[in-house]
Symmetry: C2
Subunit: 225 residues, 2 copies
């Protein structure tokens, strides 16, 4: 199966790419994973180096789609603009500022365009249960509506499925899946602040620490605090 | 009502922008139309000048989203690549080559991102009945599925409706609507070949000529043949 995997370079998407690439080993042929990343002007652009590393480790094709021209139109998020990234755990009010409007629909629709162009069988995205509360475009209702929309959009030209293998997983489930798939977690980047090392205090760092703790897997990440 | 209107500079979308801007005249305030165009590496890039003109005529904000970096990934169409644009009437087999994979879903998802960022009430696209046969992403089923997907995607952050006012109109209906709204049709561009003047023989030129004829409206277009 040929899969266009949206990989940010974070823990979730890198783990997903490894898990998908490993599926089908043994007598069946392995999946062919194509790693697709997006530059949307995120301040933590450094994650893209980790996405590239993921593709290299999987011996997969790698492409970055440049959407930086969108930033001036679709701004107002702390992930792209000069607004402080909030510290603390994911909680609706302070994390809303990390929402980039309609980001997953934009990335998925481009990934589907690529999938039709190269006749891929699936598009994959690493949304997970921990994202549901804040981000509407990470919820099962969105994923299912998106796949239905694409069935209509590409009818007669392709029929890629939409895979969201972690949709009902917690982040600690993902750490466990990555551990079992042999993922080197030090080759993943989570911190939204995009400094030299993980800050340890932003929402995604707090979540990352907690996930390793809950999964009982050693966390190789070096945190500032 | 604030509307993000996707305008290519063609007859259909320019007419739509004029009709939407004029709706609500009289005692109610007029709609505020924001003209949004896309550079996706189309060979008929010239149409973008007509989109800009449309925005100027309506005294509307105008933006071009640069998606030209997608062209190398989402190629294989005669609208973007070095493949001859076929002549003749729209007929499935020879016009399939003018399909840019997933184009409407990509443009609409970006337009929705803009709509959320500026709290617009609607996104509008000028798909029409004549496009249904070849382009799946111009059909009512797609439009309805797209709106449902966006309802899920932006829940809690915005609630823009998806307007497709010409979804059940023929191109001659659009010419009639444009005539009634006072559109200067010479300020619209249809030809896919993007030469100095309309070629008169590509699918969209043939369709354009026919639409004026059927509507009984004088066609101001100068055609090569």
């Amino acid at each position: 199966m040929k899969i266009i995997a949206i990989v940010s370079g974070g823990l979730d998407s890198v783990t997903m790419a490894h898990v998908l690439a490993k599926r089908g080993t043994g007598y069946r042929p392995e999946n062919e994973v194509h790693v697709l990343s997006f530059d949307y002007g995120q301040r933590h652009k450094k994650e893209l180096e980790y996405a590239k590393q993921c593709a290299a480790d999987l011996d997969s094709p790698f492409d970055i789609i440049d959407l930086s021209s969108l930033t001036k139109y679709i701004g107002g998020s702390s992930l792209t603009d000069d607004i402080a990234v909030p510290d603390g755990h994911y909680a609706e009010e302070n994390m809303k500022i990390t929402v980039v409007p309609n980001r997953n629909a934009i990335m998925l629709s481009i990934a589907y365009g690529v999938a039709v162009a190269c006749q891929a069988d699936a598009v994959a995205i690493a949304v997970h249960a921990g994202d549901h509360f804040i981000y509407p475009d990470c919820r099962p209702k969105f994923i299912s509506a998106f796949e239905q929309m694409e069935n209509a959009a590409i009818e007669g030209f392709g029929n890629a499925r939409l895979l969201a293998p972690f949709i009902n997983s917690t982040k600690s489930d993902i750490v466990e899946a990555g551990y079992n798939a042999g993922v080197s977690f030090s080759k993943t980047w989570s911190c939204y602040k995009g400094g030299e090392i993980h800050c340890g205090t932003c929402g995604t760092c707090v979540e990352r620490k907690e996930a390793f703790l809950l999964a009982g897997v050693e966390d190789p990440t070096i945190y500032l605090r």
